[in-house]
Subunit: 222 residues, 2 copies
Amino acid sequence: MFKKVIIAEDFEEFNLAVKQTLSDFDIVNFQHAKYCDDAFLKIRKAIQDNEPYDLLISDLSFKKDHREVKIGSGDELIQKVRELQPDIKIIAYSIEDKNARIKSLFEDSEINAFVLKGRNSIEELKKALNIISASDQKFISPEVASALQEKGNYEIDDVDIKILKYLSDGTSQDEIIEIFKSSDVKPNSKSAMEKRLSKLKDFFKANNTVHLVSITKDMGII
Amino acid sequence: MFKKVIIAEDFEEFNLAVKQTLSDFDIVNFQHAKYCDDAFLKIRKAIQDNEPYDLLISDLSFKKDHREVKIGSGDELIQKVRELQPDIKIIAYSIEDKNARIKSLFEDSEINAFVLKGRNSIEELKKALNIISASDQKFISPEVASALQEKGNYEIDDVDIKILKYLSDGTSQDEIIEIFKSSDVKPNSKSAMEKRLSKLKDFFKANNTVHLVSITKDMGII
DNA sequence: TTTCGGATTATGGATTTCCGTAAAATACTG
DNA sequence: CAGTATTTTACGGAAATCCATAATCCGAAA
């Protein structure tokens, strides 16, 4: 089982529950941070002191408040920590149930477990701890397990997302083209734009642009 | 202080924290429900048994799962409970920070307190308990207190919201008109529709329809 | 009843978006 | 290099939306 654990979580309710869970496993050496920045600093410090953490349990979304932060989301924190300390085990602990985001966590950041906050999350957290401490097996909450099986035929690239964001921001197609031209984004013709939009609408089964933006907003893509 | 409390909350982490808080106030007679339906039944039962609850602490959003439910959200639960037992005190306990929704809770459902889940929510929950148990004063978490001061010049009516919902659902303006005509919603001409949309865009400072839907989605109106 | 003000509806033209086709540019292959 | 495939760009007509103006309806007040 793990010896030294750090928790990145802004809500005290979840902090409390995680601490309780860790205690049940007789893990006493743990710390928590309410901001991603703090968590990252602690992890770096621990490495320097030659007493690294062997587990990070991190939330994904953190509330913004008065404080200025460098790392604003758990996704970023996880990414940075994975680079800094490749062998640390990571559990993402979140209410996020968007397939695309979960998939990317496993594939890009190589998290070891994803526990979905919900009616039985403490039980699942315990399962995750058991599994990933004993082996290199992954754990994912059953409610969202389908996220990984989903065929990753996401041909949606950065430009697509950029377009969607501009659209949802009230920019007209013509204006977006102008912006792309003046910032030398590769395809910047009216027709390329329209073709992309057409593909996107096809992909997301959207009837029109309004619908498309509505759908992608719901899916957490923009 | 309160004698008999019921909590409607699906996440066990929050349940745990609330129970802990109540214990700190020496409140021992409390129950919790993970589904709105259950909470409502318990409240009704308690009235019939002549031992009604004097406080409801309710979350607003509940995860959907396999189970079929009649009451799907805390907003509905609160509304129904307020009708059933007008003198019960109600605390909404949620991460919801959309002004429109909070305002409506105070004005339409006459909740007694709104506690925003966050980095210091337990402390705020305690404050809320103190204030509303001793008087008829309202409590609202400072981070969202501005929601109440907002000028309520919401001339946005049901039809507007219906239109926005249809739009975000991919329905074209013409199609919406057809729907309105066949279900005899009052204004159902092309121009009335366009005028309404124009007003909405004006009100929300939206550049176009896509922008409008995007904004109202973000505000939690649709 | 008449008049007024508002709300709804009608109309038409400007603008934007939609969608298919085709030309041009670029990449890839043998 | 020639030939093919893929991507990007160009163009044009159809459809939808945007916007201003004018006509109509309808209830309230004089």
